[in-house]
């Protein structure tokens, strides 16, 4: 009797927790959805860079710099992997990568850096004031760490903002997610 009771409790305790609700994003979701702050920068493709250019596409917006040896290469490789996995839908996804190091990153340098991951990626460059304004509007922090030899690196926010086809800032994917997680969320955003 006791054994049967214990078995029932054990089976009851084995009930798996409910999976995330269907259609839920793996990214953090902002609500209500508000318009993504506009960018007023120069693109690494030589054209003015603003988000209005990409209405109708889902934009993945992140901040980094071409000399970054840790976070940025992983983020960009992940995003490039996600686009490859999306197949034909990748044409409706635009990656925009804004520099936090305007002193070193110009359009040509960003184009070369981003092109090594995916030639469709567009970099955002500009003056220190323009970059500061872009960072402030997205709550991006960056801290310069200077080495003894005068060289420096920059610690910076590493999230990826997900902007829907209508220009709404819908979600934020923290650093560390896989390409499959991006594919999962992009498929949902592309359906809307």
């Amino acid at each position: 009797m006791i054994a049967r009771f214990a078995l029932l409790l054990l089976l009851g305790s084995g009930v798996a927790f409910a999976a995330a609700e269907p259609g839920a994003l793996k990214a953090g979701v902002l609500s209500p959805v508000m318009a993504a702050p506009e960018l007023a920068l120069q693109g690494s493709d030589g054209k003015p860079l603003n988000l209005a250019r990409y209405r109708g596409k889902v934009v993945l917006l992140a901040f980094g710099f071409s000399s970054c040896g840790e976070v940025c290469p992983i983020t960009l490789a992940t995003l490039a992997g996600a686009r490859k996995k999306l197949g034909g839908d990748a044409a409706n996804v635009q990656v925009v990568y804004v520099t936090v190091d305007p002193e070193r990153d110009d359009a040509a340098r960003m184009k070369k850096f981003l092109g090594s991951f995916d030639p469709t990626f567009v970099g955002g460059v500009g003056s220190r004031a323009e970059i500061d304004a872009a960072q402030k509007s997205y709550g991006i922090s960056s801290t310069k760490q200077v080495y003894a030899d005068g060289n420096y690196t920059i610690g910076h926010s590493s999230s990826i903002y997900m902007i829907d086809r209508a220009g709404g800032l819908r979600a934020v994917m923290p650093y560390g997610h896989t390409a499959d997680d991006f594919v999962h969320d992009l498929k949902i955003l592309l359906r809307k």
Partner: protein, 143 residues
């Protein structure tokens, strides 16, 4: 040993076994997977006025499969940055977690500017269920 004396031992022992059995084997549950925290109106103004404002715990504990979605609501008049994002006034941010780990986030709602979210695995084993219940009881008792 007399029958009465045996009863004095058997009843509490049975009750203790029953409680431990329930605590260790019955499914654990919470009312919602969302763990909500609000940044109240006036937080920024109070901080700018020199007041020490601690409105969120510096460490938030979540459990996978139970309360594994962090929900922050910005009721302040200015944008607030929490970890991966900026929240406009009136906006909320719902961040699900799928991996047990300790996550450190920048957070402008904290005087220290930092916040830790500790995500623990689902308490699947009897001992972990007991520990989870005891901690829940203890934390709810204090609040």
């Amino acid at each position: 040993m007399s029958g009465k004396r045996r009863l004095w031992i058997a009843v509490p022992l049975t009750a203790a076994i029953a409680v431990l059995g329930w605590a260790g084997f019955a499914p654990v549950s919470v009312p919602s997977r969302d763990e909500l925290f609000e940044i109240p109106k006036g937080t920024y103004a109070r901080r700018m006025a020199g007041n020490k404002v601690e409105i969120l715990p510096s460490k938030i504990r979540l459990t996978l499969g139970l309360n594994d979605v962090l929900m922050l609501r910005n009721l302040d008049d200015v944008p607030q940055v929490f970890g991966p994002t900026i929240m406009m006034p009136g906006q909320s941010f719902k961040l699900p977690f799928e991996k047990a780990a300790s996550y450190d986030f920048a957070c402008t709602a904290h005087a220290s500017g930092q916040m830790t979210v500790l995500v623990e695995p689902y308490p699947a084993m009897p001992w972990s269920k007991i520990r989870w219940r005891v901690r829940e009881w203890w934390e709810n008792r204090r609040t």
